[in-house]
Symmetry: C2
Subunit: 235 residues, 2 copies
């Protein structure tokens, strides 16, 4: 069944009006008919069946029933990653990390960042589309572009992936925990030694992601999938 997003969906909802973008998708792309059934998610674990009552590309009306609240993932992963110079590569990361399963994404502004402007609204749409496409009911939260020093001062339990020739552990050797885990991924030119030291001083652990040199967006995706797999394998 085709799936649509309505952030305000809750267990008491009886009738909802879809947003303009969701309505246009329903009417103009999928060409649904009145009376057809679809699924509605609120991105926070809520899912309901709905019947199309009115077809309007500016706001379709639907009757909602059979609301269920589904449990969250067995892990909580936050990827803080410097956007790549190529916007395509970063958007690819957003899509793939969402498909695989991540809870929070923060674009990081680092010393070596080449991209310093981002289009948060477009990225939100990519994440929503990948959430629906991969049949998930929780939508990852995307934060605004955040300077590296500000980010590390606001977080704990961090793992920082870098390519400097310094002691670090393979991510897959870090004991899995259901506590929130935050993995930092640097820009194309890597984190600076100063940034790494700042993170280590805040209690972060240095990690690597295998022996091959990975592009930023690949590192973000590999970190996401490693943590997800560690959660799946955990007893």
């Amino acid at each position: 069944m085709d799936r649509f997003y309505h952030a305000a969906l809750q267990s008491e909802s009886q009738r909802i009006n879809l947003s303009v973008s969701e309505s246009q998708h329903l009417v103009k792309v999928l060409r649904k008919k009145i009376g057809s059934q679809v699924e509605i998610i609120n991105g926070k674990g809520g899912i309901a069946t709905a019947e199309i009552q009115s077809l309007d590309p500016k706001g379709c009306g639907l009757w909602v029933y059979n609301y269920k609240q589904l449990p969250p993932a067995s892990y909580s992963l936050h990827i803080a990653i410097a956007p790549t110079k190529s916007n395509d590569r970063f958007e690819w990361f957003l899509e793939k990390a969402t498909e695989i399963g991540v809870q929070h994404i923060t674009p990081l502004l680092c010393t070596n960042s080449e991209r310093r402007k981002i289009n948060l609204e477009r990225w939100q749409r990519i994440i929503l589309s990948a959430t629906k496409q991969s049949k998930q009911v929780y939508k990852p939260l995307l934060n605004p572009l955040t300077p590296f020093p500000k980010f590390i001062n606001q977080h704990t339990e961090m793992l920082i992936a870098h390519c400097h020739d310094k002691p670090k552990k393979e991510l897959h050797t870090i004991p899995f925990s259901t506590n929130p885990c935050c993995i930092l991924i640097g820009p194309e030119g890597d984190f600076t030694q100063e940034e790494i030291d700042q993170a280590l001083n805040r209690g972060a652990q240095a990690i690597q992601l295998g022996s091959n040199r990975l592009r930023t967006e690949t590192a973000g995706m590999v970190a996401t999938h490693t943590w997800r797999l560690l959660a799946d394998i955990a007893p």
Copy 2:
């Protein structure tokens, strides 16, 4: 040090001429000078240092020394995957699977395949570029487009990933072995039930890759990374 590819490099090599494409990259993109040092790989584990002797975009000459033969990966993975309708998405898979580490890739022609023509030469270039970029010395072997029935009749030890509601195991629960492992990934419309039955009759095991519905190219990459991680974790 920048890395170039020369398939014929061997331990006895003293002087080599790079191909046109590698020479153009050396001369026109990286603007190297005579006397500069670079690395040469043969894609089969051989790596040497080289000094540029002549600059010619049609064939640079290099003196080669310090040849080393490096050991292969601790696993042997073959991904047989139906090319996606969007060429970009498949090329993305080729790049990412190469970065992460795969030994053989076969594009599969399936009943539900939407893409029936491929550009093998362009795909070879993507794989070579990702091999060099990720600092690997073994280049994955890319086979021609192969019809599904032909492929499964020529292989054993296969795992087939599909989304049909039939018994299957999570890939990460399959005991890791250093024996060659071959994972089959279907097209956007999935394998047909007939194709799955053909593979099972040939002794293949049915697998899934987590609970989220993954796009073809994501499934290929997730399968590659799961097997690589199982190899890393294996005692």
